[in-house]
């Protein structure tokens, strides 16, 4: 993307981010939001059966994922990680084919529910539904990176509710013992479906639990994209230097219900929902970039048009893609060479 007419802004400059970087980060936040909003429209229109959303998390996801090296480092994401996956190389079509569960859905070929993204091509680990299991996968990836001396860093992300699972304790303990190049990101949106964080987590900040493992725990404002980037960049630097894991807790907000099958007004007040709108990273980042002169009206208009076209393209593409063929439903239970032997089981 060509960006001209502006000198390097002080905004981001101290972080080593160029204007091109920041505009691309903004594009990813806005694209993730636009794809997500389209998903809800398609769900309400009866085109897709289920939506699980990342709205309110996108700023933290883009800021944090931006600190990792695409195609080299690894991320074990979770079901709200649309912006993370887009930042790590997946496309709007990739996300949309998952909503339609098409044969071409790169995450699972239409086998998993929407939200269970993954891509071997982009080092994004396949997501399951039992929460927090992916933390151990990222720890194992980091272990392999250390043993194989690849210089890779692995990150796992999840919500604050998931962070209570035993796998989190087991994994952080092991990663800390071996100073693995591992980063644990908690996207704390205040709710585990309907249960508020105060009933989920015994402390105000999940990050404070890091001290129990002797690792740094950092709280960052999830509506501040550049602050999220800074926290992740520091953690990645530490990890690559062999100084071990970091826990980053991004305070985000959940702008939608838990999923398309949830009615959040049953447990969240109208006042609360209105207040939480103010924690949305998208307008905050837009204003920040406008004020710094990075995001001109011209660029903004061009990005808006690009994003609208990408969402339209992804929707039309996914609508037209064929369903998976049941004839292939028994494939890939095992590596293919034993497929025929096992098929008769």
């Amino acid at each position: 993307m060509a960006v001209t007419g502006h000198s390097d802004s002080t905004l981001g400059g101290t972080l080593g981010l160029t204007e091109v970087d920041m505009i691309e980060m903004y594009r990813l936040v806005a694209l993730a939001r636009a794809v997500d909003e389209r998903m809800w429209i398609l769900n309400r229109a009866g085109r897709i059966p289920f939506v699980i959303s990342g709205q309110g998390h996108e700023g933290a996801q883009v800021g944090i994922a931006w600190a990792f090296q695409r195609g080299h480092d690894w991320i074990a994401p979770f079901y709200r990680s649309i912006a993370t996956c887009l930042t790590f190389g997946m496309s709007a079509r990739d996300i949309m084919t998952a909503q339609y569960a098409t044969a071409s859905d790169p995450s699972s070929g239409g086998r998993q529910m929407p939200g269970h993204y993954g891509s071997h091509e982009h080092n994004l680990v396949s997501v399951s539904s039992p929460v927090a299991t992916q933390l151990l996968h990222a720890v194992g990836i980091a272990l392999a990176a250390k043993i194989r001396k690849t210089g890779q860093v692995a990150m796992a992300s999840m919500g604050e509710g998931s962070s209570n699972q035993g796998d989190v304790h087991e994994g952080l303990n092991f990663a800390a013992i071996h100073k693995l190049p591992f980063i644990f990101v908690v996207e704390n949106n205040g709710y585990a479906i309907s249960v508020p964080a105060a009933m989920q987590v015994s402390v105000a900040d999940v990050a404070s639990r890091a001290s129990g493992y002797g690792i740094p725990g950092v709280v960052v404002d999830g509506s501040d994209v550049l602050a999220c980037y800074a926290a992740a960049r520091d953690a990645v630097t530490r990890a690559r230097a062999g100084d071990g894991p970091t826990l980053i807790e991004a305070k985000v907000t959940r702008l939608t219900a838990h999923s398309s099958d949830d009615q959040q007004t049953k447990y969240r007040s109208a006042e609360e929902l209105a207040t939480e709108r103010g924690l949305d990273a998208l307008p905050h980042f837009r204003e920040q970039l406008r004020d710094a002169g990075v995001l001109t009206g011209e660029i903004e208009a061009r990005l808006a048009a690009e994003i609208a076209a990408a969402v339209e393209d992804a929707t039309e593409y996914a609508e037209a893609e064929p369903d998976p063929d049941p004839a292939n439903a028994t494939r890939w239970v095992y590596a293919e060479d034993v497929h025929n032997a096992e098929a008769s089981l």
């Binding site: 995450s107 699972s108 269970h116 299991t133 720890v139 194992g140 092991f174 034993v338």
Partner: protein, 327 residues
Amino acid sequence: MPTRTFIDAIRETLADEMRRDESVIVLGEDVGKKGGVFLATDGLWAEFGDDRVIDTPLTESMIVGASIGAAVNGLRPVAEIQFADFIFPAFNQIVSEAARMRYRSNNGYGVPMTIRAPYGGGVHGALYHSQSVEAFFTHVPGLKVVVPSTPYDARGLLRSSIRDDDPVLFFEHKKMYRSVRGDVPDTDYTVPLGKAKITRPGSQVTLVAYGLMAHYALEAADRVAEEGISTEVVDLRTLRPLDRDTLLDSVRKTGKCLIVYEDNKFGGYGAEVAAIVAEEAFDYLDGPVTRVAGPEVPGVPYNHVLEEWFMVNPEKIAQGIRTLAAY
């Protein structure tokens, strides 16, 4: 040909595979300096060092979950669960994650990982050091389940398991570790997964067994042979994928099938074998498909009298053969 104990065959195979392929690592509780509580990994740490032989905290879910991640990023982990009885904290990682990774990612990811675990009773291990847990895992598509009975098979099957591109559960009967010896060639042979073996030919009854019970089955077959009953013993060796051909060929020949397993009978692995025989060899049967298995209590009791009461033994199997042969 060199003779080896069951555990020697396992230890030497682990070392061989680690020498052959530097992506093979071993991790588990006490597997390092101590060499494992049964010494199945003795000497590996000294030869291969901290990076490839890792003493883990007491965290079975982590042992398996991190092995999945390590497998995703280019290693071939061999995880040890110290006793099969302690595998349940890792159940979610094995069943929800390892077993489904390839299917759910449409072959985007595979998990080339072997999980070794000592199982079985008869060693004064009581409820939590004696269990047979295979049925929990043979139910799950995406997993392979191996239960060798001889040092030769242990070596050949462990090689195949480590080299396999999918998750394999490798259950070793702890009573056999030092009590079972056998010839093990110094060659790089493998025993393929999914192939049973006729360990004793016979004509009147097919006796299906695996692990320690494969030995007891042979003893029982000897006993009833003196009474004029000819028993064919099928050692399954791999429980999933099951070698249906060898099983069904034998049953179609003998017309009778008795399945032996150490686990309690209800819903055990032998129930699936019985169902397959009933479905696919019904026309050849001239007696009911029967089972000799453990009693319906939730574990092996400790006191030696109670443990003997629990355990399937050659005489219980022989009685099962006699009853079936009388049809």
